[in-house]
């Protein structure tokens, strides 16, 4: 039977990436270096999922670092990969809207009609909403791929945004599709409130104590607070090698 598991949660199943790459090049003409898969898994670890065939006697238990995975651990087992979704957040959205993008999705034709693709998509969509407040998720699909169209449009509710002419390397057009996601956002306001309340409680505690009113640790005192804030906004991925990676066939079509 097939298990749907996250690639990079707890424990981590990042060792599935080579088999995911094989699944991709077995099924689709749009292929990528392993580094591009790594780039996804290390930049948006929450968003990608994989479908694996459960080994005959199940997975080893607690074989992870310091016993992680008491109920079963896929790491080190190298099960057969029969499907995956590779997803990311758009780094520089042209419309200024934070949104997700499906880089690649495929399921072995021998494992169709089990709803694997749908489940992979829903897991990824949920993570985009929760972790990244994605407004919507976008993807490209070949205009001739009726099975995929049915999944995206009829089952998942995507809408065709436009046709991108000659999008694929072989000259075929693509539908650019998207699905609104804001329904599954977390309530950040409530969380902020709790954070503020906890900070206040902590401050109160500290006030009661004469010595510890000031922030602790002199190393981080002078310049940091601000800079640490700034760091969050720093553009990443450029000039580092990794940022130069592009979706090969998509952009060179």
């Amino acid at each position: 039977m097939v298990d749907i598991v996250p690639i990079s949660s707890y424990p981590s199943y990042i060792d599935l990436l080579p088999s995911i790459q094989t699944c991709n090049i077995t099924n689709l003409p749009e292929n990528y270096f392993l580094k591009y898969y790594l780039y996804h898994a290390l930049t948006w670890p929450q968003l990608s999922f994989v479908a694996v065939v459960r080994p005959k006697n199940g997975y080893a238990k607690s074989n992870g670092i310091a016993g992680a995975g008491a109920a079963g651990n896929v790491a080190g087992e190298y099960p057969k990969v029969v499907g995956y979704v590779l997803a990311k957040m758009e780094e520089e959205p042209t419309d200024g809207m934070q949104h997700g993008h499906i880089t690649s999705l495929s399921v072995m034709r021998t494992h169709r009609r089990l709803g694997i693709a749908e489940r992979l998509m829903r897991m990824s969509q949920l993570a985009m909403s929760e972790s990244h407040r994605a407004n919507y998720v976008s993807l490209h699909v070949r205009v001739s791929n009726t099975a995929a169209l049915r999944l995206y449009r009829d089952t998942l509710g995507f809408e065709v945004e436009k046709v991108e002419s000659k999008y694929y390397a072989d000259g075929e057009d693509a539908y650019a599709m998207r699905l609104k996601l804001d329904g599954q956002w977390m309530d950040w306001k409530a969380i902020e409130k709790r954070i503020a309340a906890e900070d206040k409680a902590k401050a109160g505690e500290a006030d009661g104590d004469d010595d510890e009113g000031e922030p602790v640790g002199d190393m981080g005192k002078k310049e940091d607070g601000d800079e640490a804030e700034k760091m969050v906004k720093v553009k990443v991925g450029r000039g580092l090698g990794v940022g130069d990676l592009v979706e090969r066939n998509e952009s060179q079509a």
Binding site: M1, V2, D3, V5, P6, S9, Y10, S12, D15, P18, Q21, T22, I25, T26, N27, P29, L34, K35, L42, P45, Q46, K56, G58, S62, I65, A66, G67, A68, A70, A71, G72, Y78, R109, T110, R112, R113, L114, G115, R119, A127, S131, I191, R194, I195, V216, G217, M219, G220, K222, D224, D226, A228, M231, V232, V236, G237, L240, G241, V242, R248
Partner: protein, 836 residues
């Protein structure tokens, strides 16, 4: 002594640096030349010019210039830094680290040098060095969170969990207010700290911490998984059950979550009723799921099983789920379940129970689909090794195809049946037919190419693959398969060449996969800095740890084993360097010299023909695509040795093989075939201690292994006939240790014959024992040949085993025709016993 520059030249020099940073390489060279014209010995400028050249594919020339720069200015940190960068490009990390250290000594405050050094220390897993570098980077710029995180990672990976946690906490304490929830770097750092606490084994504290911070972490699923795992391991059952229920509500298609829930609820493995009730609950909650329906078939027995299987099978057959059999076959380890499934599905096609269980009248159309699915299921069932009946399989698949002639999967199964008939020719043909049913689908194209490779049709397979590759890549379709790291194809192609004893091409492909793993290892380099900026440090640490066991992947194990076999073959039969040579002519002793020379000449002629052909192809490609560029934009050169001649013409195959063997033994020590091959290599290298180490390891894995038996005897023989005695100390250890595996007092012939009679029902063991006998008593060859032939009368013998018997006969320089004839009679549909 360094040459001082005047102010104009100084500004020109700064421009060179800028040019380099902006990747304006040609401009940079021009400007550098301008400076050097007036100051020909200015080391820094020479160094910068060298650095730029190295980025223009002129690494060799760059090194020459960088060395000259150093001669002109030994005390320049720029010269040393560049020297290090060049070594880094050459992937000589040790030398690079040395050069960086020199540079840093000259310029201790330089952040770029410190950073480059740190990155390499991480890549080399020099954790102590990395801690040092990171400490001084933090001291220089304590305002950056990533400097704190990096130091924590350094301590963490070095194994000092306490210090790692302390560093993270120290930074947290400097924050005046908690960062907002949008701050993903903070969210990740909190979870990272939590994972470190969990790693200390103090789950109590980890859980407490997680409960404090979890609500504000944006990786919701990870928090849930961590919590469930901690609770389960802490034995807090009720809460653990709740946590796994929550996970299942997110994703009911993960058997691990069910396991967690069952453990938490303390339902015993034998309480089938309670287990079934639990799964039924989830079927009701998520009726479209598969897991909760399928898993109970694993534990249910007897009538309960039959009933559940009936419902499950009918539902899936009606839906036409092609993976149904793949999902069911694991149950066949239990023969009762196997027979029950067979009876059920045979019942459906004979029209007994299908409509009865349905209740309602079916339309003709869906009834047809149900029938076709059932035939398809039976075809796979009778094709499976635990329930094999190939004529029945063929009969059923033909019926399925009759109902749905366009179903690709049905046609694929037809090909698989031919494969099991031992007919690779028909199998490839039939898979090709499946491909023609859906030419736009890459999956079936892949399968068809794979079947052609299994039939040793390398060129044809590549041609088929080229329908989905980017053929404008340098090297054409094969170039694209390399560039896109298509491991499965390179492996199958290499193995096919190995079967044909075309060792050059075999080594070429298999080495290509080895090189892909090198690239994957190198890939992590950029992430040492990238991930710190991104802040996704848990995923980064997971990646670092995974890279350290990268080559335990079955993809690597497989090519390493094939490559070692190829090198051993090359070592034992050096003439194979010139291409495949007919086995009789290549016999080690039995054939006359003239015959051998003739065959060799023929092989060499063929080799030249292939070289010429390859050169022509290359020319044609060049003409077609004058300026082919690869995906990363670099202009790539054509491979100067497409046939692998350089590899196969090695003087030292037993040395070349070591890089494969070392990885294999290090990363897959539990693989008995790996250990046996290690023995083969070390024995030939006369490394007796290492050979014995492999034998001991193999013995610990499976003392009754057939290959091991032969190896033990060979090792004893080798020790008995050493050309010069082992050094006293070695001899002592070897004798003492080997005594435990095979006593010196043991009569080898008796040992072997008793092994033979004890294992007469296992063909693999019989083959090993006959090989051993051949070694111990060469004059019993006729008897051994007879005994080998008799293995064909065993009802257990597989086609694969019979094929390996042919290899054995090759090794003995025996005539294969009698065996091949008898095998052909036993498997009349097969193609693999046709001798040419």
């Amino acid at each position: 002594m360094p040459q001082p520059l005047n102010s104009k030249d100084q500004s020109l020099f700064r421009q060179v640096v800028r040019n380099f940073e902006l990747k304006q390489y040609k401009k940079g060279i021009k400007t550098a030349d301008q400076v050097l014209k007036k100051n020909p010995k200015h080391g820094d400028t020479q160094a910068m010019k060298a650095l730029i050249m190295s980025h223009m594919n002129q690494l060799e020339e760059a090194f020459v210039l960088a060395k000259e720069a150093l001669r002109n200015d030994m005390k320049s940190h720029i010269c040393w830094h560049v020297y290090g960068l060049l070594y880094r490009q050459e992937k000589n990390y040790e030398e690079a680290i040395k050069a960086y250290r020199f540079a840093l000594r000259l310029e201790p405050e330089s952040q770029p040098i410190q950073r480059d050094l740190a990155l390499l220390q991480m890549q080399m897993r020099d954790f102590q060095g990395y801690i040092q570098s990171r400490t001084s980077m933090l001291q220089a710029r304590p305002g950056f969170r990533q400097n704190w995180t990096a130091l924590a990672i350094a301590h963490h990976l070095a194994g000092d969990l306490e210090e790692a946690e302390k560093v993270l906490t120290t930074f947290e304490d400097t924050l005046k207010a908690s960062p907002s929830v949008q701050d993903m770097e903070h969210s990740e750092a909190l979870l990272y700290k939590n994972s470190i606490i969990a790693e200390t084994g103090n789950l109590e504290r980890a859980l407490e911490h997680l409960e404090k911070i979890g609500y504000r972490c944006t990786d919701v699923l990870a928090v849930m998984e961590m919590k469930a795992d901690y609770l389960l391991r802490l034995g807090r059952k009720a809460e653990a059950a709740e946590a796994y229920t929550a996970l299942l509500e997110r994703n009911s298609e993960n058997s691990i979550y069910y396991n967690g829930l069952i453990q938490a609820k303390e339902i015993s493995d034998s309480d089938h009723k309670a287990l079934k009730a639990l799964y039924d609950e989830w079927v009701e909650k998520y009726p479209r799921g598969d897991a909760a329906r399928r898993i109970p078939l694993d534990f249910l027995e007897g009538n309960d099983f039959k009933q559940a299987a009936d419902v499950y099978l009918q539902r899936m057959l009606k839906k036409g789920v092609p993976s149904l059999f793949a999902n069911i076959k694991m149950l066949y380890a239990n023969p009762a379940k196997r027979d029950a499934v067979q009876a059920l599905v045979e019942g459906y096609v004979s029209g007994q129970s299908a409509s009865e269980a349905n209740g309602s009248a079916e339309t003709n159309g869906s009834n047809n689909e149900f029938l076709a699915s059932s035939y398809y299921f039976l075809a796979q069932h009778y094709n499976f090794h635990l329930s094999r009946n190939l004529p029945k399989a063929m009969e059923n698949v033909d019926k399925a195809i009759e109902v749905s002639p366009k179903a690709v999967e049905y046609q694929m199964t037809r090909a698989r049946i031919w494969k099991h008939y031992g007919n690779t020719v028909k199998a490839a043909e039939e898979m090709e037919k499946a491909h023609l049913l859906d030419e736009k689908d890459r999956h079936i194209n892949t399968k068809a190419a794979k079947y052609q490779l299994r039939n040793n049709e390398n060129d044809k397979a590549l041609d088929l693959m080229s329908k989905f590759t980017r053929n404008e890549t340098v090297g054409g379709a094969m170039g694209d398969l390399h560039e896109m790291q298509c491991v499965w194809y390179l492996t199958e192609d290499g193995e096919a060449y190995l079967r044909q004893k075309k060792l050059g091409l075999a080594l070429k492909r298999l080495t290509a996969v080895h090189n892909i793993f090198d690239v994957w290892q190198e890939d992590q380099f950029d992430f040492h800095s990238f991930s710190l900026r991104k802040g996704m440090v848990r995923a980064y640490v997971d990646m670092v740890r995974w890279e350290d066991r990268l080559r335990e992947h079955p993809f690597y194990t497989r090519i390493a084993i094939a490559t070692i076999k190829a090198y051993l073959l090359l070592n034992d039969q050096p003439d194979l360097a010139h291409g495949p040579i007919s086995s009789v002519a290549n016999g080690l002793d039995s054939t006359d010299d003239a015959e051998r020379k003739k065959a060799l000449k023929k092989a060499k002629k063929e080799q030249h023909r292939l070289e010429k052909l390859e050169a022509e192809k290359r020319e044609a490609r060049k003409a077609a695509a004058a300026n082919a560029k690869s995906a990363d934009g670099e202009v790539k050169k054509e491979d100067p040795d497409p046939l692998g001649n350089a590899l196969v013409q090695t003087k030292e195959p037993l040395k070349d093989v070591m890089k494969f063997l070392t990885h294999l033994l290090e990363q897959s020590p539990k693989n008995i075939e790996a250990q046996c091959l290690g023995f083969e290599v070390y024995l030939r290298r006369e490394k007796h201690l290492l050979a014995l180490k492999c034998l001991t390891a193999a013995h610990a894995i499976d003392p009754s292994n057939a290959t091991l038996h032969l190896a033990l005897i060979r090792f004893r023989k080798a020790l008995d006939s050493l050309s010069e005695p082992l050094p006293a100390q070695t001899a002592e250890v070897v004798n003492a240790e080997f005594e435990k595996l095979l006593s010196k007092s043991q009569n080898l012939e008796e040992f072997n014959e008793s092994f033979l009679s004890k294992n007469k029902n296992s063909v693999a063991h019989v083959q090993a024992a006959l090989s051993a006998r051949q070694l111990l008593k060469p004059d019993s060859k006729a008897q051994s040949e007879k005994d080998l032939l008799a293995t064909l009368d065993s009802s257990d013998i597989t086609i694969e085993e019979a094929v390996s018997a042919l290899d054995l006969l090759d090794n003995w320089a025996s005539d294969k025709s009698a065996f091949a004839q008898k095998a052909s009679k036993k498997w009349p549909e097969s193609s693999v016993f046709e001798l040419n």
